[in-house]
């Protein structure tokens, strides 16, 4: 099954309250890899952590994918429940975690730094969603919005264990306390999901600067109301700023069309060409 056409865009904004932007993102329509990272740690360390994570996951995924590296040869221990590409993502996240952890351990200026990660990879017949921390990934399909990432924060885990209700969680001051991130520990066990793609799927990856201020239903309505990825990103950032912009906000949007059936060579080429033409807004 081929991916006929993918359109994507990404945008980040420092917001109205913070001095620096510690978020990083990347979009790569050739590789079909989309990443958002929300860094933490003072004096630019958060920015270093999020940028390092995005770069390393991009590089390792590209390298392993292009050489069709076997699962045994990639970084870390493969997970038998995942596809080979899923393991490339897993390995890339674990590698980035290790590097950031070592930087934070051995360099005083990086002490305590860490970052969340949200990764979306699309390959023929498969959508891979991976994350650690609380930067969510949404899938919008057939008029419904579904979170295809897991929030690794204190309240989300309390809710999962049945110790807290959704209502209590929404009010809790603890909702920014992360239980998983890249950098704090030598080992990391991110959550990875693999889903079959469908025609016209749309995906949103963002930092919590957006989801703190905009509800899932609002995200759904905004996605349904705007086809152009660049405009959609701008709309999200504008809404977050309008509501106070208390944090750095980053949004990456990805739209698929015509994933369902095998495509012949020429059509795939036109798809790739169109994907190249659709430009991506880069940070700054």
């Amino acid at each position: 099954m081929g991916i006929a056409l993918v359109k994507s865009a990404g945008l980040t904004d420092v917001g109205l309250k913070r001095e620096g932007n510690e978020d990083s993102f990347s979009i790569d329509e050739r590789l079909n890899l989309y990443i958002v990272a929300d860094g933490m740690g003072g004096h630019l360390a958060g920015e270093v952590a999020s940028r390092t994570a995005v770069d390393l996951i991009n590089k390792s995924y590209r390298k392993w994918k292009s050489s069709e590296t076997s699962e045994e040869a990639i970084f870390g221990w493969p997970d038998a429940s995942l596809s080979r590409n899923g393991n490339y993502i897993l390995g890339g996240i674990q590698l980035a975690n290790k590097v950031i952890h070592e930087m934070a351990t051995y360099h005083k200026e990086y002490k305590g730094m860490g970052t969340t990660i949200a990764v979306l990879a699309i390959i023929p017949g498969l959508v891979i969603s991976a994350n650690a921390g609380d930067s969510p990934i949404y899938m919008i399909r057939n008029g419904r919005i579904e979170k295809i990432s897991k929030d690794h924060n204190f309240v989300a885990e309390q809710v999962e264990m049945g110790l807290m209700t959704e209502e209590e969680a929404a009010e809790s001051p603890m909702k920014h306390v992360l239980t998983k991130n890249l950098g704090s520990y030598e080992d990391l066990d991110p959550d990875i999901f693999e889903i079959e793609p469908a025609n016209n799927d749309r995906f949103i990856l963002c930092s919590d600067g957006l989801t703190d201020l905009v509800t899932d239903d609002e995200i759904l309505q905004m996605v349904e109301g705007e086809k152009e990825p660049e405009v959609l990103c701008r709309n999200f950032i504008d809404l977050a700023l309008k509501r106070g912009g208390h944090d750095n906000t980053t949004v990456v949007t990805v739209s698929l069309s015509g994933t369902g059936k095998p495509k012949t060579g020429p059509i795939r080429k036109i798809g790739a060409l169109l994907a190249d033409i659709s430009t991506a807004m880069r940070k700054k």
Partner: protein
């Protein structure tokens, strides 16, 4: 007191306290930490207290001892170290005092800012909130199972992959035969919300509890699934 937590597949199996100066790990019953698995040597490793340190030593075991994925011969344990022995993981937890002293959290943390939480802080926060069960329970992983109904010889099929493809194709995780069976007729994915079955839009009918599925449907325990002429019951069991 320092503790060891024995886990397998993220499930806690047992907890051990260091109430003496050494502790042995192995398959044979005379070990303090007995792990009944063939990947584990009879006398696999030991931990000795020397002053305030705890030193883990591999006893020339067949399959080796790993700490945080690195093979070791001997290693001074730190709070939070993962000791891998075969497929089992022993988590080393330093004493409460050491944990607290390791890194003092700010007195008035800015909770609007994203913070990082370790399990020691988590327990502390839980205790403060007056919630029951101060130990952090491992979220139980469940594995979906398709149980073939109606005289099929397919038996019980565990959904061990994040995405299971069902159809005639060789690449399908579950291969089904039949005149009308397509190459891939349905997929079952494990998502944050649970297992979801999706039709791939071919001519083979997919039904859940008798209703035809055109796109996708969440699966609940004991749902019946019909894929062409094949019939299954879905349920979830605790992962071992």
């Amino acid at each position: 007191m320092e503790r060891l937590v024995l886990t397998f597949n993220k499930q806690i199996i047992n907890r051990y306290s260091f109430n003496k100066d050494n502790l042995t790990i192995g398959r044979k019953p005379e070990n303090d930490v007995q792990i009944d698995n063939l990947a584990v040597s009879g006398h696999h490793a030991r931990i000795d207290r020397t002053g305030n340190d705890f030193i883990l030593t591999d006893l020339q075991s067949t399959n080796g001892t790993f700490v945080n994925h690195k093979q070791i011969v001997s290693h001074t344990l730190k709070h939070g170290d993962n000791i891998q022995i075969g497929k089992h993981v022993l988590l080393f937890l330093a004493s409460e005092k050491q944990e607290a002293g390791a890194e003092e959290p700010a007195k008035e943390p800015d909770l609007d800012k994203t913070m990082i939480l370790d399990t020691a802080k988590q327990r502390e926060l839980l205790a403060k909130q007056g919630k029951p069960g101060t130990a952090v329970p491992a979220a139980s992983e469940k594995t979906g199972v398709l149980s073939a109904l109606g005289g099929s010889n397919l038996g019980e099929i565990e959904l061990t992959k994040k995405l299971t493809r069902i159809g005639k194709a060789d690449t399908s995780e579950i291969r089904l035969s039949g005149m009308m069976m397509g190459a891939t007729v349905a997929t079952i994915s494990k998502r944050p919300s649970g297992y979801t079955i999706a039709s791939t839009g071919g001519r083979t009918k997919i039904k859940v509890n008798g209703k035809v599925i055109h796109e996708s449907a969440p699966l609940k325990d004991f749902d019946t699934i019909e894929i062409g002429s094949h019939k299954f019951q879905f349920y979830q069991k605790e992962s071992k």
